[in-house]
Symmetry: C2
């Protein structure tokens, strides 16, 4: 029998994930029950367990998918050979990707505390892969004499925190366009690792 | 009658605040009840209401005190006249102050969502005063030709996010000392607003 487009099994998964993401971001993981998620979706609480083992598994899936989608999208970018162009591209990508997903970003930082130790280790490992991508750009740039770094790992963490910070204040329709913000932050990121240490 | 040192009314306030801070940081504001805070302190739930009107007032007090202490400590720093020295001092101060208060920092960002609209406005206004301090350092440096900025407000937010990011990864006893990290971040902050835009 042909699969019915829009059958409940196809629709419910994404709707459960959307509802969980929204509720976790609004109230925090610990304050949200499976019953509330089910009510938000408009299904019985029991129906959630056809989709996910428990609330911890749901949180882990949301955080894992956020990180793997981020890594896959990053890897699909065209490869620039110049380290400065690579850093510029990374900065613009990081800001754009994160501005599109405020709830997922908020949860990715905020709910690390709520992961089981094994799940925390798995998310940390994905996060480290993402950080390594930027660290390699910086180290390659330093090797070529384009960047000056005292510590590539620490510079990586500093730049990622700076770029992610845009999600705390940026609103579409404000004084600066997204592209303005991307340009200004990419410029500050480049300058932070260029020129002689002061 | 002389005040008894260590009387229960003196001790309970700080203990309630410490317990609330720890529990909010661990589980999130929405997931923590007044009853749990009382149990953590070792008093009856009713005793909390002698100290605070409700959980919202407790959260607001914690966030307000964090911001006012931060502002007072900042204002007590010696005044350097050179903008580069001012920025260096600000960066070191910001990192040191925040590393000493990880729970308060976590709550200051994560639980803005849990404040009532009036309380949110009050905290935002304190935060804006803090940001204005850095923005004035940057603008003064730009006016003197020491810094090059495209947008002082945005550079302020970018640098604060970068510096605060240290609290996400720094652990005492790790590879880098606190002073190493302060030096490296202050250097990146200075470079990010120095030299020609790229």
């Amino acid at each position: 029998m042909a699969r019915k487009i829009g059958s409940s099994s196809e629709i419910t998964g994404p709707r459960i994930r959307d509802a969980a993401l929204r509720l976790f971001a609004r109230h925090g993981f610990a304050a949200v029950s499976m019953r509330q998620i089910a009510a938000e979706v408009g299904v019985q609480a029991g129906a959630l367990y056809l989709y996910t083992a428990d609330k911890q598994a749901l949180l882990f899936d949301l955080m894992q998918d956020h990180m793997t989608d981020l890594l896959c999208t990053l890897q699909a970018l065209p490869q620039c050979s110049d380290p400065a162009a690579q850093l510029d591209q990374f900065a613009r990508f990081h800001i754009g990707y994160h501005l599109d997903r405020p709830d997922a970003v908020f949860i990715a930082y905020m709910e690390l505390r709520s992961l089981s130790p094994e799940n925390f280790a798995a998310i940390e490992s994905l996060r480290r892969r993402y950080e390594t991508h930027l660290q390699e750009i910086l180290s390659e740039g330093a090797a070529k004499g384009v960047f000056t770094l005292s510590d590539a790992k620490m510079a990586t963490l500093a730049l990622i925190a700076m770029l992610t910070g845009v999600t705390n204040w940026y609103r579409e329709g404000g004084r600066l366009s997204r592209s303005d913000v991307q340009t200004l932050y990419a410029d500050m990121a480049l300058r932070a690792v260029s020129g002689p240490p002061i």
